[in-house]
Amino acid sequence: MANILEVQNLVKNYGDFQAVKGVSFNIQEGEIFSLLGPNGAGKTTTISMLSTLYEPTSGDAIIAGHSVKKNPMGVRNAIGVVPQDLALYEDLTAKENLIFWGQMYNLSGKSLSSRVDEVLEQIGLTDKAKNKVKTFSGGMKRRVNIGVGLLHKPQLLFMDEPTVGIDPQSRRAILDTVKDLNKQGMTVLYTTHYMEEAEELSNRVGIIDHGELIAIGTQKELTKQVGETETLILHVGENEDPSALIPSLKEIKNVLDANVIGNEISVVTPSAKDVLASVVTKANERGIKIYSIDIREPNLEAVFLHLTGRALRD
């Protein structure tokens, strides 16, 4: 598969602050690539540079053969953008919004009309086409927001945290839409801070933190970095201070790492069931009340924790 996107050492500075620090990666045609990272990691800034909204301080990106620096119009014709926040005209109907945005993508006449109908069908809003967007639920608005990005059948679709702040049902619908689009051959660059979304959708994942791409690969490749480990999660009371317990947990045989994340203690080990009894005993000795225990297989959360020492939610 050919690369549809090649990011070359992309940097964005705001004065003395470096928001993106030399990010490089490629996306192949037909894949879903997720940029996974916590809020403020540089995901939106990266996508803004790739969509020609911000000019990179240095570096470049080639999208469908067009440089974001030298030929931004060529890039804009090739990409579709679904921004993080809703960007719609609430006093216009869903159909009027799609028509307007289609016109901005140089569609007109019958091709515009048929494309608008197709997209309405695709986002499941054909029967609400003549309703004003302001009468829609948050999830429906999100679907129109996505529909706008699909109108001109872009070669590469940027989706910047499209599920933020919506109900689980709408979130499910959006994830299914992304998968459907990909099945139809659309290449997607998806940013999220939800590990589950990245795991479910992506062919490959790039983990970004503090403006740096710290890992890249398939989920399997990334979890291998953590090793064949399991993570034991202990949920403690809100008034507990489990940080004092960490050194004693690390002394337990076969405990590779232990961290406190809010009201949770995570213990990384090759075998959770072998260390479980010792961990509970240590907690009891410290007088820390455990409310529940989870055992997690290696996942992207664990990878992020392993690479940064912090949870994605931090």
Partner: protein, 417 residues
């Protein structure tokens, strides 16, 4: 160009779907027009004239039939509510009254005016032309008087040409000999001179003229309606300006910037949207007052031109306010304040002629003042030529404000990446 048009059209659609905006753009100016019409007695009787009482002095040095007729016309009952006419025989004293801002206009009819007009060798020399000595600080009132005088003079000219034509036709048809032409012409002139000026057969009257007499009727609404429309035009342009910042805060501006549409098309579209909305508002108000109150706005082409120029000038102000503001709410607040200040200064409530000289000077920065001059002139029978100054002023205002705003937008990086 197409995208600019489409963005403008989209903004027009959105503006006319906003009920709150519609109330301010259309309903409020309409109701205020009715309210002020009631206060001024416009709707209280069949006589739709309002009192302006423009003070003028006619110096009749002619003391012959035409001079006397002109004095009678300006002193007639029909114009009593409009003009406060006094006569004099001292031209210098009359000019002095104008200079001292005591009166609006001095009309000086030279000696021998009638004789010259009806003589076979009618002279166009300045010696025989009526002098119209106007007060520059009262352009609207002066314009009204000028329009009436022009109507009178046009009628006189028609008559003179008609006499010459009649004599020529008599010669061609062989009914008189060329040698007898002079005598016949003098007879026509003599008959006219002997026509009683107060009879129904008087040839020189305002009401018997063609279309010009229609507009010469004084309707206070012709002043009130454009005044209110222009006041709320300022609301509309600030509403449009607010939409620029609303697009920015709402994310649609950012989204536009990642479509294959350049910044100039986007800004042009937003400006065009403001212009379209303002023009639509003005034409709807003009149409409504014409249909409902039988208000005569005047020459249609002139109205179209002055509306476009007024909206252009006002749009410039809307953009300037937007360029200085940081949030849509700031544009709304500042826009409302500017709307009221410009309405007061620009004569939307009270003619600028009744204001102190410095306010009159200051009023020239408002689109209201210039556009109101244009509308009033048209309502009182003026033609496109009479709009030259207001049109030029409004276009200049618009261009200057556009350039300043574009510079400020560039500095603020509003639509740039």
């Amino acid at each position: 160009m197409l995208k600019t048009f489409l963005i403008g059209l989209k903004d027009l659609k959105i503006a006319f779907r906003d009920r709150a905006a519609l109330i301010f753009m259309l309903l409020t100016p309409f109701l205020l027009t009715i309210g002020m019409g009631l206060v001024t007695g416009r709707f209280s009787s069949n006589d739709n004239s309002g009192a302006l009482n423009i003070p003028i002095v006619i110096v009749n040095l002619d003391n012959d039939s035409l001079g006397n007729t002109l004095v009678e016309v300006f002193s007639s009952e029909e114009l009593a509510d409009l003009l406060e006419t006094t006569t004099s025989q001292d031209a210098e004293a009359a000019r002095l009254l104008v200079n001292e801002d005591e009166i609006t206009v001095a009309i000086i009819i030279p000696e021998g005016f009638t004789q010259n007009i009806f003589s076979a060798n009618a002279s166009q020399s300045e010696e025989y032309q009526i002098e119209f000595y106007a007060n520059p600080s009262r352009p609207t009132s002066a314009g009204i008087v000028k329009t009436i005088l022009d109507g009178f003079m046009a009628r006189v000219d028609e008559m003179r040409v008609g006499g010459i034509t009649s004599v020529a036709q008599l010669i061609i048809s062989g009914r008189i000999s060329p040698e007898g032409a002079n005598a016949v012409g003098e007879e026509i002139g003599a008959r006219f001179e002997n026509t009683p000026t107060d009879s129904d057969e008087t040839l020189i009257t305002l009401n018997t003229s063609t279309n010009q007499t229609q507009t010469n009727e004084v309707d206070m609404l012709a002043y009130i309606a454009p005044g209110m429309a222009l006041m709320f035009l300022m609301y509309t342009v600030s509403y449009g300006g607010r939409s620029i910042l609303a697009e920015k805060s709402g994310g649609t501006l950012t989204r536009l910037l990642v479509t294959p549409t350049n910044s100039m098309q986007i800004l042009g579209g937003k400006v065009f949207g403001i212009f379209l909305t303002g023009a639509a508002q003005m034409f709807i108000l003009i149409g409504a007052t014409t249909l409902l109150f039988q208000l005569q706005w005047g020459d249609m082409l002139g109205i179209v031109l002055i509306v476009f120029a007024a909206v252009f000038g006002a749009t410039g102000w809307g953009l300037l306010i937007t360029a200085f503001a940081r949030t849509p709410n700031q544009v709304g607040s500042v826009g409302s304040a500017v709307m009221l200040i410009f309405a007061i200064m620009g004569g939307s409530f009270l003619s600028t002629e009744n204001m102190p000289a410095f306010v009159q000077t200051l009023s020239k920065i408002t689109p209201n003042a210039w556009a109101l001059d244009g509308f009033t002139s048209l309502a009182f029978g003026g033609n496109i030529a009479s709009l030259t100054t207001p049109l030029l002023a409004l276009l200049t205002m618009g261009i200057v404000l556009f350039l300043v705003s574009a510079f400020l937008f560039g500095r603020k990086n509003l639509v740039q990446k």
